[in-house]
Amino acid sequence: MAAAAATAATKGNGGGGGRAGAGEAGGARKKKGPGPLATAYLVIYNVVMTAGWLVIAVGLVRAYLAKGSYHSLYYSIEKPLKFFQTGALLEILHCAVGIVPSSVVLTSFQVMSRVFLIWAVTHSVKEVQSEDSVLLFVIAWTITEIIRYSFYTFSLLNHLPYLIKWARYTLFIVLYPMGVSGELLTIYAALPFVRQAGLYSISLPNKYNFSFDYYAFLILIMISYIPSPHHPFPFS
């Protein structure tokens, strides 16, 4: 039942706060962008990231040509992949500080899920590193990130070529399912090895009276990929 109220404050973080002030200020307040120093920093950041993912792309192509097959290419780009994907954690900071107008929660979610896949799955379970599913998500991420970071670079400089904008919103249709498939297949491939080694798991009895089953946790992660109204696919 709708409540018409002139009172507001709710316990903790309540939504829908009602405010009836006599003569409340109206009109849209213009959103102020980052200052010149922040813009310069962000341009450098985005250029560096674009370059980093280009390095990964080139590395993949060279490795493919050298080997003659597309299997086990992960090893040739392992280090720059880890470096640049982990570096994206800075983007959470950018939102928190306010120089980027995105939600901290949403950005954290997206970056953390990538970092999780790189470190807690691919790096941690050596047996999956030779899986083709790894190549699937690495390619998807590489193309997506090159486009995304150049998009941001150009936007900051107020000169966004239509091609980049088009690429970002169109290629996603292929790249997103590609990435999700690669990620899910990789996690799935890791499961038996996690079970076997008891990786990152602790069982009872122990003096902290705590238990954690990484295998079950990974299954929950896989389930969380199912899109719902509560978290439609992350897209920034």
């Binding site: 109220a5 002139a6 009602g18 009836a20 009109g27 009276n209």
Partner: protein, 293 residues
């Protein structure tokens, strides 16, 4: 004396922001700015009288639909009854939680029985306080809060209770000494928390919504008011730390940490509004932890 009517518009949107009539001709721009800001943003209370509002003869009230609401009492009762009941399900080892050979068995550790008593006491106390002690300044909160709050309380209760009542539970490393110390902390903090609730209740007469600065009373537990604005939260955190030490259970420690974080946010907010409302607010006081936070 001829009065002026002053209309204030937004420079960019030309929207009418405020209309002040009966402005004295010798009023300065600063005074007009003052009159204007007083009408901004602060939400009105049910008790406010129209005549006393700083508006002209035409008062514009902005109305916003708060959405579906639920009473605070209902939310509190539901969110506290859950943990009380859920913990007991684990304590009595109701079927399908642990292996079938453990159904309805009882733990051989004294501390497990003690923990059940403490946990149950804690929530019974909260339920009784909700019914008989607390005086709420707001009647309702958004409906979705009940789902959020119950998930939090019920979820954590189940998680803690699962381990404490588990057949493979490991009692505290330092044995009876640890349990005794933890129990003392728990009891003292529960008494403290209750004392503060009573003191806050006595500050406010029945049915009123007046706000006053809380001060220490004859009850020594309330002397914490000398050092913090929200000693009820301080004691609450203390109770859970006591319970964590008593059970030596990591999920309890995590629950205490999350609770502490939330209560600190609330305490800081409360502290800030005390400072804003009362000029003579005691400067020594911190929001929740004496001298620190």
């Amino acid at each position: 004396m001829k009065h002026y009517e002053v209309e204030i518009l937004d420079a960019k949107t030309r929207e009418k922001l405020c209309f002040l009539d009966k402005v004295e001709p010798h009023a300065t721009i600063a005074e007009i700015k003052n009159l204007f800001t007083k009408t901004q943003g602060k939400s009105l209370k049910d008790e406010d009288v129209l005549q006393k509002l700083p508006v002209g003869t035409t008062a514009t009230l902005y109305f916003r639909d708060l959405g579906a609401q639920i009473s605070w009492v209902t939310v509190f009762l539901t969110e506290y009854a859950g943990p009380l009941f859920i913990y007991l399900l684990f304590y009595f080892r109701v079927p399908f939680i642990y292996g079938h050979k453990y159904d309805f068995t009882s733990s051989r550790h004294t501390v497990v029985h003690l923990a059940c008593i403490c946990h149950s006491f804690h929530y019974i106390k909260r339920l009784l306080e909700t019914l008989f002690v607390h005086r709420f300044s707001h009647g309702t909160m958004p409906l979705r809060n009940i789902f959020k709050n119950c998930t939090y309380y019920w979820g954590f209760a189940a998680w803690m209770a699962y381990y404490i009542n588990h057949p493979l539970y490991t009692p505290p490393t330092y044995g009876a000494q640890q349990v005794k110390l933890a129990l003392a902390i728990f009891v003292i903090c529960q008494l403290g928390n209750f004392s503060i609730h009573m003191a806050l209740r006595d500050l406010r007469p029945a049915g009123s919504k007046t706000r006053k600065i809380p001060y220490p009373t004859k009850n020594p537990f309330t002397w914490l008011f000398l050092l913090v604005s929200c000693p009820n939260y301080t004691y609450e955190v203390g109770s859970w730390i006591g319970f964590a030490i008593m059970t030596q259970c990591l999920p309890v420690a995590l629950f205490s940490l999350v609770g502490f974080t939330q209560m600190t946010i609330w305490a800081k907010g409360k502290h800030r509004s005390y400072l804003k409302e009362f000029r003579d607010y005691p400067p020594l006081r911190m929001p929740i932890i004496p001298f620190l936070l």
